[in-house]
């Protein structure tokens, strides 16, 4: 148990009667790319929401390194514990430049008075520069973030998550709306960042999941239906019934049309 970075114990998120997550037990291990899949309404995004404090667990506990319970902490305190989140829709700051977006996101003292005195240090400049290099936005660093292409916005947001130097990265559909090339690059990026932290990703794209997953959790109606490698997931009859089967049929319909 203790080797898990994050442990959810019987977590329930109740939206006035509707249990988006129902007594969920779930673990995130370090240095893994951990995908969560499942049909719409299975509670995937709610899972991310309750880890980062956007939605509150009605009951149960979320333990970090087996001890600290996160369920009662404020959103920013959870961030300070080393959990960073990328949302589904790119939510970068359009009126700030690429550089300024990273500047306010990066790991630093974020309290009021510390921020007033904040100045660029050499290490900060270097690490932001490296990050810009990694996401290929060096030339755009002084452009307003609002003017970036969609894929670039997604990367900027992933970069804003990474510069917080978190232990656990939560990504919600990171490749939505990306081209094939951009997907590959994002996949490489994810593999790279998982080298020294845990990555938990909600994703619909099965090919992407297959290419990069270390472990896959299938959720259904607020609970874990199955957990294992992608091969095991694909061969599990229960999973095929509630999710993959349906998905295959839909795909067949789409190609037919």
């Amino acid at each position: 148990m203790s080797e898990n970075m994050l442990t959810l114990q019987k977590v329930t998120v109740d939206f006035s009667g509707f249990k988006a997550i129902n007594e969920l037990d779930f673990q995130v291990a370090p240095n893994n790319v951990h995908f969560v899949i499942g049909p719409n309404g299975a509670g995937k995004t709610t899972l991310l929401d309750c880890i980062c404090g956007k939605s509150r667990a009605t009951s149960g506990a979320i333990l970090l390194h087996g001890k600290k319970d996160l369920t009662k902490r404020s959103e920013e305190k959870i961030v300070h514990q080393g959990i960073a989140r990328k949302f589904q829709a790119p939510s970068i700051f359009h009126k700030l430049t690429v550089m300024e977006n990273l500047e306010i996101a990066m790991k630093q003292k974020k309290r009021l008075f510390a921020m007033m005195k904040a100045k660029w240090t050499k290490t900060e400049k270097q690490s932001i520069h490296d990050m810009l290099d990694l996401i290929d936005l060096i030339e755009e660093k002084d452009e307003l973030a609002g003017t970036l292409a969609h894929g670039q916005k997604q990367w900027l947001e992933i970069a804003m998550v990474l510069v917080q130097e978190p232990d656990i990265v939560l990504l919600d559909e990171p490749i939505a709306g990306m081209s094939k090339k951009e997907r590959d690059k994002t996949g490489e990026l994810i593999t790279k960042i998982a080298e020294d932290r845990a990555v938990l990703i909600v994703e619909h794209d099965m090919d992407f999941v297959k290419s990069y997953a270390d472990i896959v959790t299938v959720m259904h109606e607020g609970q874990v239906l199955f957990e294992g490698s992608m091969d095991e997931v694909q061969n599990d009859p229960k999973v095929r019934e509630v999710y993959l089967g349906r998905k295959v049929e839909e795909d067949a319909d789409n190609t037919g049309a």
Binding site: S91, F93, I104, A105, K110, R111
Partner: protein, 360 residues
């Protein structure tokens, strides 16, 4: 690229220095009457900068800054009133049948205390209101309504407590400050110079505050408060701080206003003036520090100009001006300037690209 940034900085610095010198030397080329008016406008400009920190940068619209302006003004006026009566009771208190100075007036016998309270009192009120509302995540239009309610409540209190505040007629008939006669031209010139210096200090201080990383955090809070929480910030603390700061600045503006105008009454700090203050910022251009200064001076100059030339219908002109700006210049006058600059820049870039293409 480097050199253009330096040029731009220098350019700004030169423009601001020229403006500052022009304002400082205004006593040489303006009549006493006009100078007094300009001084009043500049006091308003100080308030507008603070209001814009809150609205333009942090995204919190307060329709109640009149009250912070008023608290500053009343603090100053209470001292002036006491000094004018040389230790005796202010006239309105005698009329309401009071025989000794009420407790709340006692600290205002000392000018330094009055000046300090003129800043601290509005700041304290804003801090209390701000921390209560922002911590409970009351924001947007709900906060705006609350800020308006605050004005209504306090103005009603001011009017009601006739024996303490002078009621609807407010406080006036001041004579001296630190023993110096207030109504003499030389004293008024001094007040004007002080106003210009305070304006410059607030201007530079606020510019410094918003131009660095701190300002980017404020813009982040304005454009995505929840997103900032998930980057590890506590937006409530930032909003409370800026609200408190802008209230303190409004208090300062109120004090400078009383010194130059010589009267403060509830009608000058109520709902209508509070809304007007927001319009100065909107007209000048929010999200810049120079915008609100331009807005405050222009709107008030227009108000004076219209009311002198068309005493019967001048309010219609003012209304029309506001409608035109809101419809055609949503980003205010500085927005107009910025669009022009952006257009020029994109034209240059366009040329650049054409040249590059022609070599292909």
């Amino acid at each position: 690229m480097q050199s253009t940034i330096i040029q731009k900085l220098l350019g700004h610095r030169i423009i601001f220095s020229i403006l500052f010198i022009l304002l400082l030397t205004a006593p040489l080329y303006l009549s006493d009457f006009r100078l007094n008016l300009l001084g009043k406008f500049l006091a308003f400009a100080i308030l507008a900068i603070g209001l814009d920190l809150l609205w333009g940068y942090t995204g919190v619209l307060s329709l109640g800054h009149g009250i912070f302006f008023g608290l500053g003004a009343y603090c100053m006026a209470m001292y002036l009133k006491l000094e004018a009566n040389a230790g005796g009771l202010p006239d309105f208190m005698t009329w309401s049948g009071m025989s000794e100075l009420p407790l709340i007036w006692l600290p205002f016998q000392y000018p330094i205390v009055a000046i300090i309270l003129g800043v601290l009192f509005p700041a304290f009120l804003a801090f209390v209101l701000g921390s209560l509302t922002f911590r409970n995540r009351i924001s947007g239009v709900y906060f705006t309504i609350l800020s308006q309610a605050l004005v209504l409540v306090l103005v009603t209190l001011f009017v009601g407590a006739q024996n303490l505040t002078g009621g609807t007629s407010g406080l006036t008939n001041f004579e001296t400050l630190f023993g110096i006669p207030m109504n003499e031209a030389s004293t008024q010139t001094m007040f004007y110079i002080i106003t210009v210096v305070v304006l410059a200090a607030i201007f530079l201080g606020c510019r410094r505050l918003v131009n660095g990383r701190f300002g980017n955090v404020l813009i982040g809070i304005r454009d995505g408060e929840n997103r900032m929480r998930f980057l590890g910030y506590n937006p409530s603390a930032y909003k409370t701080f800026i609200y408190t700061l802008s209230a303190a600045i409004a208090g300062m503006a109120g004090m400078l206003f009383v010194l130059q105008v010589g009267i403060i009454s509830p009608t000058m700090i109520g709902i209508i003036p509070s809304i007007e203050m927001v319009l100065w910022v909107a007209l000048g251009g929010r999200g810049t520090i120079i915008g609100p200064v331009i807005g405050a001076v222009l709107v008030n100059a227009a108000k004076t100009g219209f009311s002198e030339s068309y005493p019967d219908i001048w309010t219609y002109f003012l209304g029309l001006l506001f409608v035109l700006v809101v419809v055609f210049l949503p980003k205010g006058l500085t927005g107009l300037f910025e669009t022009w600059k952006a257009r020029r820049k994109s034209q240059n870039v366009g040329k650049h690209v054409d040249v590059a293409k022609s070599y292909r």
